[in-house]
């Protein structure tokens, strides 16, 4: 990577990142995210009744469901907005490669989520004050949670490359994220395995292995497996390649 490549990516990143702070959407999403993650933890997760100094079942457990809706809300403007405003044409006639723009924008959205996730620090303080938690699962829980958010964001980036409508992008991304979550949901996988002939079990297990959920749970348990991180990294890479193809098709 040359210096100019990095400079271009940085310029795109900076513009995209700052634009989040110019729009009310970001603040709304972060507030909803904090309310939802804390609300789920205390009311549905029964954090205080559980009498357990762990965040795995009470806090991280709910994150996938929050990300399914909120990550597309953050990412839906990535490329749809460029298509709608026509600035996509401007961007693609500037001396930068589409990859620099794709990566710059994705990293901006990713950093926005890092801020959102960092603002949940109060739950860490709470659990440390009330009990004596094991830091291992807490760290892997945060990594897993962030990876999940990035996976959803990358899927949204891909969807936004194909449409100029943020609404269409949002709905398609939410549907895709739900699909990628549910195909690995233990209850659903088991009932599918029971219904289908036994010879297909291997296939079902394989499909469920491709789901976000499978890898997320492994990681929140406190076992840091490089395999699961690699899984999310490959999801992101594949989604960004699909983004690239989508952008190219708009210029054909």
């Amino acid at each position: 990577m040359k210096n100019s490549d990095l400079a271009n990516t940085l310029a795109i990143f900076k513009r995209e990142f700052l634009s989040y702070f110019n729009s009310p959407v970001l603040y709304v999403i972060v507030v909803i995210y904090l309310l939802a993650s804390m609300g789920f933890t205390f009311f549905f997760g029964r954090f205080l009744d559980s009498d357990n100094a762990s965040l795995t079942q009470t806090f991280f457990f709910w994150h996938p469901w929050i990300y399914i809706v909120l990550a597309p809300a953050v990412g839906m403007r990535l490329w749809s907005e460029e298509h709608r405003l026509g600035t996509f044409e401007l961007l693609m006639t500037m001396p930068l490669s589409p990859w620099q723009a794709i990566v710059g924008k994705f990293v901006a959205a990713a950093l926005v989520w890092a801020i959102g996730l960092a603002l949940t620090f109060s739950i860490v303080i709470t659990v440390s004050w009330l009990g004596n938690p094991d830091p291992g699962p807490m760290i892997t829980g945060y990594v897993a949670s962030y990876m999940y958010a990035l996976g959803c964001l990358a899927v949204t980036s891909a969807a936004s490359a194909y449409t100029r409508s943020q609404v269409v992008c949002f709905i398609v991304s939410v549907a895709l994220c739900i699909l990628l979550t549910l195909i690995g949901y233990p209850g659903i996988v088991d009932s599918v395995v029971r219904t289908l002939p036994g010879s297909l079990e291997g296939l079902v297990r394989f499909v469920s292995y491709l789901s976000f959920m499978d890898h997320f749970y492994e990681m929140t348990k406190g076992i840091f497996v490089i395999r699961d991180v690699l899984y999310f990294v490959s999801v992101i890479v594949v989604a960004l390649i699909i983004t690239h193809l989508g952008l190219r098709s708009k210029r054909a």
């Binding site: 100019s4 400079a7 271009n8 310029a11 795109i12 900076k14 513009r15 634009s19 110019n22 729009s23 405003l85 026509g86 600035t87 996509f88 044409e89 401007l90 693609m92 006639t93 500037m94 001396p95 930068l96 490669s97 210029r251 054909a252």
Partner: protein, 242 residues
């Protein structure tokens, strides 16, 4: 500076641009004329590297646009049709972003921004949000973006669209002045602009070049036609005839 050969673009079964060739040298201002949907914008989008041509070659200052797009794009400034802008930015921050992507940073960046704000009479709206600008200002902001890196080549898609008569006059003067040491292509369907700013004009109809020459020679092209307006109408077909 710009060498375009046998350019062709198909969208599915529809041929938008058919075998268009031309060259533009430094010091030339080429006017693209033609009815709506003639292929003016599509041609310009290929020259700027936005669309990939179905066949043909584009060379920008000797650099092949299809083989080395990032280098070729460096020497081009482009004003797309409808003057797109990021609506959440101010005029100055938008121009700053465009400068950065062009590799202009630090003190050179603020100098470049001031220069184009001057040239395009935008000082008054410098810190105004793009969202709240009137159409004329939006257009000039996008125009300012196209000259922020002082490019050798300027490609302007309907640069005077939506401007009031005073602004139209200013932009034409600007194009004429810059045309002395740049290669400029601009499209228009206002024929008086050709006389006001172009050293050469090309008439395109249904994707094909139907006339190419100085405004003076175009006027003499069709016997019995005295004005450019009449020549235009006799060479191109209106929607009624299509």
């Amino acid at each position: 500076m710009i060498q375009v050969q046998n350019l062709r673009k198909e969208f599915g079964a529809k041929v938008a641009v058919d075998n268009v060739s031309f060259t533009v040298e430094k010091g030339e201002v080429l006017g693209f004329l033609g009815p709506n949907g003639a292929g003016k914008s599509t041609s310009m989008r290929m020259v700027t590297g936005y669309f990939r041509p179905t066949s043909g070659s584009i060379k920008i200052g000797g650099v092949d646009m299809l083989e080395n797009p990032e280098l070729a794009k460096k020497s081009i400034g482009y004003l797309p049709e409808n003057a797109p802008l990021y609506s959440d930015m101010t005029v100055a921050s938008f121009l700053g972003f465009c400068a950065e992507v062009r590799g202009i940073t630090g003190a050179a960046k603020s100098k470049a921004i001031d220069r184009v704000l001057d040239l395009c009479f935008l000082h008054r709206v410098r810190n105004q949000s793009v969202d709240t600008l009137s159409k004329g200002y939006r257009h000039r902001t996008c125009f300012a973006q196209s000259i922020i890196h002082d490019p050798d080549i300027l490609i302007l898609d309907e640069p005077t669209d939506g401007l009031d008569p005073n602004q139209k006059h200013e932009v034409r003067q600007l194009i004429k002045n810059m045309g002395r040491n740049k290669a400029i292509i601009f499209s228009t369907h206002i024929l008086e602009e050709v006389d006001a700013a172009c050293s050469r004009a090309m008439i395109i109809d249904r994707g094909k070049v139907v006339a190419d020459g100085t405004p003076e020679s175009l006027r003499k092209l069709v016997p019995g036609c005295a004005s450019l307006d009449e020549v235009f109408r006799s060479l191109t077909r209106s929607d009624l005839e299509k």
